[in-house]
């Protein structure tokens, strides 16, 4: 999503260009010629399961891992052979990595001292940075005396105090509990808006990626599967892996034949949406796009395609109700509806029609 409110910050953030970066450990190809352009001021998330190469890529940008090929440019400056301490990129590490023998203020002031900033200025800027993460009065504490969330804020203050144009984050919220994580997600977004610098965020948590990012790069086995906005990745996954990694998906297997998708498992034909992959073997419908109605009740609209099945479970989720259906061919489907609009009279064992608007279906390989 282009966000015009960020234009006045365009000088603050630096663009990053990753060109055919390769990393090999023995026979194991960790990064397979990855290329990615990150825009100035963008919040980009590297999303992937463990072993996908996302942390390796971040460490290559930071300079802690040497790539076996390719280039990394920040702001048109080739950093490939620049040592980490001369790159000037901010970084927040997994498990915070605060210096235990220094106070919070000394931790935050570390980078400024290296830059030989004047003492009064160090004091003022450390105070400002701590203020920004709402830790203004805790400068004298030791990291060991702080909670996990507080330590994370200090790590954040330490990474932004020297005004880097890029902030790298390696699963920074991984060690926190759910409530705190959600709160810090919102704060990171606020910080990103206020500072306007480029954020590169690594996580394996798809919800986190969707909530926070401008764009997501989904990695798998050292390759980028798909890059796009959260809604692009959710609504238009490029392949089965992307569809299943982000959100829940109902998948029918078959093939595109003569203007229709032929479902080989359920022996049915579905109409094609406007855009589709002609070579695609999967038709996907997201749970909230799938409706369920009792067989014999009002028929679904004619703009919908339908498959028959039996309800195997109904689950109340508070805000939503989900209905699990096994089709006669044996596919298991999930439909998810907000509770106020959930259909009545559907219980385990009921015969139902599962249906979806033709335009909501996606077809890919």
């Amino acid at each position: 999503m282009p966000d015009t409110s960020r234009n006045d910050h365009s000088l603050a953030g630096a663009p990053i260009r990753i060109e055919e970066v390769r990393k090999v450990y023995g026979d194991n190809v960790v990064l397979d010629d990855v290329s990615l352009d990150i825009e100035a001021g963008e919040f980009l998330t590297l999303l992937g399961a463990s072993g996908s190469g996302k942390s390796t890529l971040l460490n290559i940008i930071a300079g802690f891992i040497r790539s076996d090929g390719g280039r990394v440019q920040v702001d048109d400056r080739d950093l490939t052979s620049v040592p980490p301490h001369k790159r000037g990129l901010g970084m927040v590490f997994q498990h915070y990595a605060l210096f235990p023998h220094m106070s919070v203020a000394e931790n935050v002031g570390f980078a400024l001292k290296r830059q030989k900033v004047r003492k009064e200025d160090v004091r003022r800027r450390v105070g400002e940075a701590l203020e920004m993460v709402e830790m203004g009065d805790l400068g004298a504490r030791r990291p060991a005396d702080l909670s996990g969330g507080q330590q994370q804020r200090v790590a954040l203050a330490r990474a932004i105090v020297f005004r880097p144009r890029v902030l790298l984050m390696d699963e920074p919220l991984g060690a926190l509990d759910k409530m705190l994580r959600e709160q810090l997600q919102l704060e990171l977004r606020r910080l990103h808006r206020e500072m306007g610098i480029t954020f590169v965020f690594v996580t394996h948590d798809q919800d986190e990626a969707i909530t926070m990012s401008d764009r997501i790069a989904l990695l798998r086995e050292g390759q980028i599967v798909q890059v796009g906005s959260p809604s692009q990745l959710y609504d238009e996954p490029s392949c089965r892996y992307a569809a299943e990694f982000i959100g829940v998906s109902n998948l029918f297997s078959g093939s595109v034949q003569g203007g229709a998708f032929v479902d080989t498992v359920n022996a049915r034909q579905y109409r094609l949406p406007d855009r589709f992959d002609a070579a695609g073997g999967l038709l996907m419908v997201r749970p909230e796009r799938l409706g369920v109605t009792a067989l014999g009740a009002a028929a679904p609209p004619t703009s919908c395609d339908v498959v028959e099945g039996t309800v195997i479970d109904c689950v109340y989720l508070g805000s939503d109700r989900s209905v699990h259906v096994r089709t006669d061919g044996g596919d298991e489907l999930v439909s998810r509806t907000p509770v106020p609009r959930a259909p009545d009279g559907i219980a385990t064992g009921a015969r139902v029609n599962a249906f979806w608007e033709v335009r909501d279906a996606r077809i890919f390989a």
């Binding site: 990595a97 570390f110 990474a159």
Partner: protein, 275 residues
């Protein structure tokens, strides 16, 4: 009830072991205050006769100063070399790591007599017997393993990400070592230095080979003092040597205390007029 009994007997056992360990050392102190011409226990008349004797004979002081010099220099050299070796072995990506470790720890296994003999043969040719340099070289090699073991275990406990974070914040690898790694492993380094000092301070076997009229260390002087005739001055010297070792321990404790105070000051200065 049984729990109290168990506890009491454990405390008693600990005290007995403590006495067992300390008694042979502490017995020397009253012996040194004896007025008799022989080493005897318990002392009959208390006097400072042997301490006077010690002061009157300048060779004792000379050998003590030599020992102090050799021990201090050996400790310094062993700490630098041992810490560098630990850094390479723990942080570096070395081939034959096991082999290198074995070579560095070898002085722990090789009997001191063999070390002394071979050092003697070598140093005779090089003219290093009866020199401070010769003593320091051998004692350093004996002390490096203790520094290496201490510092390695300290270094393993330091999260590599702390050094990465320091570099990310603009510190060169050398600055990262002195600002982050060294302060964190300082207790291990000090412990290593302490071991190195004590190894050299009371090393007698190798020293007997290397010592002579030109240069004698305190342990060698004490050894000859009881071998030829049983000279109660040795008891006085032992008591004083004990004081030196206790002072060394105290110094290490004091250094740690100072370190804590200094870093607290720095913190206070940073936050005093902060926003």
């Amino acid at each position: 009830m049984t729990r109290i009994l168990t506890r009491a007997s454990l405390v008693l056992l600990a005290v007995l072991i403590g006495i067992y360990l300390l008694l042979p050392i502490l017995v020397v102190v009253p012996m040194s205050l004896n007025n008799s011409s022989f080493l005897s226990f318990p002392p009959k008349d208390v006097s400072l006769r042997w301490y006077h004797n010690l002061i009157d004979d300048p060779t004792w002081l000379q050998s003590a100063l030599s020992s102090l010099e050799v021990a201090a220099l050996s400790a310094l050299l062993a700490v630098v070399l041992g810490t560098l070796a630990a850094l390479a072995l723990v942080r570096g990506k070395l081939p034959f790591r096991g082999g290198i470790t074995a070579v560095l720890l070898a002085p722990l296994i090789v009997p001191y007599v063999i070390v002394g003999l071979s050092a003697y043969i070598m140093f005779l040719r090089l003219g290093l017997t009866q020199t401070t340099l010769g003593f320091v070289l051998v004692h350093t090699s004996l002390a490096v393993p203790y520094v290496l073991i201490n510092v390695s275990s300290g270094l393993v406990a330091v999260d590599r990400r702390l050094e990465m974070a320091a570099m990310n914040l603009g510190a060169s690898p050398v600055q990262a070592f002195f600002r982050i790694t060294l302060p964190m492993i300082l207790p291990s380094v000090l412990a290593g230095a302490l071991f190195a000092f004590i190894i050299s301070w009371d090393e007698v076997v190798v020293a007997i080979f290397l010592a002579g009229p030109d240069l004698t260390t305190l342990p060698v002087k004490m050894w000859s003092g009881i071998r030829v005739q049983i000279d109660p001055t040795v008891a006085a010297v032992s008591s004083l040597a004990l004081v030196v070792i206790l002072l060394t321990f105290g110094l290490v404790g004091l250094t740690r205390l100072l370190q804590r105070i200094i870093s607290r000051r720095a913190t206070a200065a940073l936050t005093k007029t902060g926003a």
